[in-house]
């Protein structure tokens, strides 16, 4: 980047933000996604202050109010031991988001680093070793494998996250590998290479920044899938264990009381759909946003 460009960039950063927001918000659904994700994140962070009965998140028993249908003091009703379903659902967002965030924050760097390495060592033994292992992981059904690994490790929230992480990094490895293959022949990378830049510089300063947008988009969309997968593991009984107010666990225990006490299972189900839908819409919005940005850059 030349000095002139740098000055231009600095003066137009505010402008650029406004323009980006305009482009992003042109698609209404992206904004809906952003708002949904915002609501979920806020609810998760401030759960103890927002939930009407924060104590009900734990192993509280209140049989006098058991199985109450939705009413004004319990908007989502109460479960089989009298806990407020609304409060537990709000706390449930915490576990869903935490699972997704932890899995992605480990799987993404691992996958990105391995993908960069393999992409750069293309044609050497390191490349084939990394990519063959990646291929094997990608050739297996993720949910079933996560279930099995989780089962072998033993049922718990931590083990569920470990199992998901083991099945997750290869997707990032593959994504970045593909990106590197394309980007390493871009003019600016070749120019830097000819200017005598070393490999670490090429990888980290030239190629990596240009992979970020696709990795970011994938992370947003994957947050949705990770939340689904985490809820599924808990639903089967391998993830979070009761009385943890995890959404999947709540659905599992609530489904024993169908159809009479439908609210115990249905509201957590709705919460899962709401969260996943939000991340999906936001991810789609980001993908379109970055795709347009690339087209504009190509034109320049």
């Amino acid at each position: 980047m030349t000095t002139l460009q740098r000055i231009e960039r600095a003066s137009s950063r505010r402008d650029g933000f406004r323009r980006s927001w305009y482009r992003f918000s042109k698609n209404r659904l992206s904004v809906v996604g952003l708002v949904t994700v915002g609501i979920v994140v806020l609810l998760a962070i401030f759960a103890p202050y927002i939930a009407p009965y924060p104590k009900d998140a734990g192993a509280v028993v209140n049989f006098r109010h058991a199985n109450e249908p939705p009413n004004w003091s319990h908007l989502f009703g109460t479960d089989d031991v009298g806990r407020d379903v609304l409060s537990r659902t709000i706390f449930g967002f915490r576990y869903s988001l935490m699972m997704g965030a932890v899995v992605l924050s480990i799987a993404t760097p691992v996958g990105v680093v391995l993908g960069l390495l393999a992409g750069y060592m293309k044609g050497r033994w390191l490349d084939s070793v990394i990519m063959r292992i990646t291929d094997i992981f990608l050739a297996l059904p993720p949910l079933i494998m996560a279930l099995l690994i989780n089962a072998v490790l033993g049922p718990s929230l931590i083990n569920a996250m470990i199992a998901m992480t083991i099945m997750w990094w290869p997707w990032y490895c593959r994504l970045v590998y593909g990106q590197v293959a394309v980007l390493r022949n871009e003019t600016y990378v070749l120019a830097a290479e000819m200017g005598g830049a070393r490999r670490p510089h090429l990888l980290l300063k030239e190629i990596l920044p240009n992979c970020i947008s696709s990795v970011l988009t994938k992370m947003t969309l994957d947050m949705a899938i990770a939340i689904l997968l985490g809820a599924s593991l808990s639903f089967v009984g391998l993830g979070a264990q009761p009385p943890t107010p995890d959404l999947g666990t709540m659905v599992a225990s609530g489904s024993n009381f169908l159809p009479d006490f439908w609210w115990i299972a249905i509201f957590p189900v709705m919460a899962i759909i709401f969260t996943v839908l939000g991340f999906n819409l936001l991810g789609d919005g980001l993908r379109d946003f970055f795709a347009v940005e690339e087209q504009e850059l190509d034109k320049q």
Partner: protein, 341 residues
């Protein structure tokens, strides 16, 4: 020649994937703390009995030798005994896998026919009400986990409208037809027992839809996109100009290139169907392989877990192989390896 090479390469990859999976599952099931012999016999068995079993299971040998022995048995269909059912794992597989297979096959049939049909309709009439409906359906379908779909369908059609049965694969009092394939649907057909056939089919509707809804949504969207794109290609306009009948354009020139992405997607979706079956069978109490899988997982029954992993791996990898070959048949570029160039 190129085609043979393509097929051989794919089969080689598939075989290698399976081998790696077996090594992986075997290793994690053996390096974990906990002595399988002790677990099988319980805490009160005397030490010399445990030692005897350990010797019998080759647990005192080095791990690579254990693996070779295990592999030799596995190839012969001997996965050892399940600690949960106390029977050879192979017998459990034979009993439970057919029920899941028939469920997944019906689900795949529903998914492919509805998904592609809806996609074609939406793609040909962009931004019509039906396109918008499928769009909403696709967003919600992708965001809803299979068990949630199952619970919602169960409540709606099982209880609110009370239209369909919600548990098991045959009604109470309905005799199971004589076992031939262990797929009730096929067995009842072979026995000529039509009441059982329709009863079984009725029991499958809700689980099958729950299993395939998410995949159907994806398939609809991707078909819609490719149909929409190909509809604007010049050769379509040209054929129309030459007076080629509309049905022929639709089936021969439009559908074939438009089906390449959906068919490639199907490979991944077969895995998703089996994965979803793991969740849906629990809700509908379907006596299938997935429910068995979950039960052995919760009991940490390592022999059975490894076998479940391998069976799922074989199915998934074989299906993907078939899909790859199918895409190769549709798209000469893939077959001739141009895409990799």
């Amino acid at each position: 020649m190129a085609t043979v090479k393509f097929i051989a390469k794919r089969i080689l990859y598939a075989a290698f994937g399976l081998f790696a999976l077996s090594v992986f599952m075997f290793t994690i099931s053996r390096i974990l703390p906990g002595d399988p012999a002790r677990m099988a016999l319980g805490p009160r068995a005397p030490e010399w009995v445990v030692e005897q079993l350990r010797e019998q299971l080759h647990l005192n040998d080095p791990i690579f030798k254990q693996y070779i022995i295990w592999l030799r048995d596995a190839v012969r269909g001997d996965f050892g005994e399940s600690l949960y059912t106390r029977r050879p794992v192979m017998e459990d597989i034979k009993e439970f896998l057919p029920a899941t297979t028939q469920l997944v096959m019906l689900a795949a049939l529903i998914q492919i026919s509805f998904g592609i049909l809806l996609g074609i309709i939406a793609g040909r009439r962009r931004n019509s009400w039906i396109d918008n409906v499928t769009r909403v359906f696709a967003y919600i379908g992708v965001a809803t986990p299979a068990f949630a779909v199952a619970i919602l369908l169960l409540l709606l059609f099982g209880f609110v409208f009370d239209l369909l049965p919600t548990t098991g694969q045959l009604s109470m009092g309905m005799a199971r037809p004589p076992v031939v394939t262990n797929m009730v649907l096929l067995d009842s057909l072979i026995a000529g027992n039509f009441p059982a056939f329709f009863d079984n089919l009725k029991h499958m509707i809700l689980p099958a839809f729950s299993v395939c809804l998410a995949g159907m949504a994806q398939l609809t969207r991707i078909t819609r996109v490719t149909i929409g794109e190909n509809l604007r290609k010049e050769y379509i306009f040209a054929s129309r100009g030459f007076g080629v009948p509309e049905w022929r354009i639709a089936f021969k020139y439009l559908l074939k290139p438009s089906l390449i992405p959906p068919v490639s997607l199907l490979g991944m979706q077969i895995g998703a169907l089996f994965s979803n079956a793991f969740l849906v069978e629990l809700v509908f109490n379907w006596p299938g392989f997935s429910r068995y899988g979950v039960n052995v997982m919760l009991r940490k029954d390592l022999n059975a877990i490894t076998a479940v992993a391998l069976v799922m791996g074989v199915i998934y990898i074989t299906m993907n192989l078939l899909v790859d070959l199918g895409v190769g048949a549709l798209d000469p570029r893939v077959r001739l390896g141009e895409r990799n160039a």
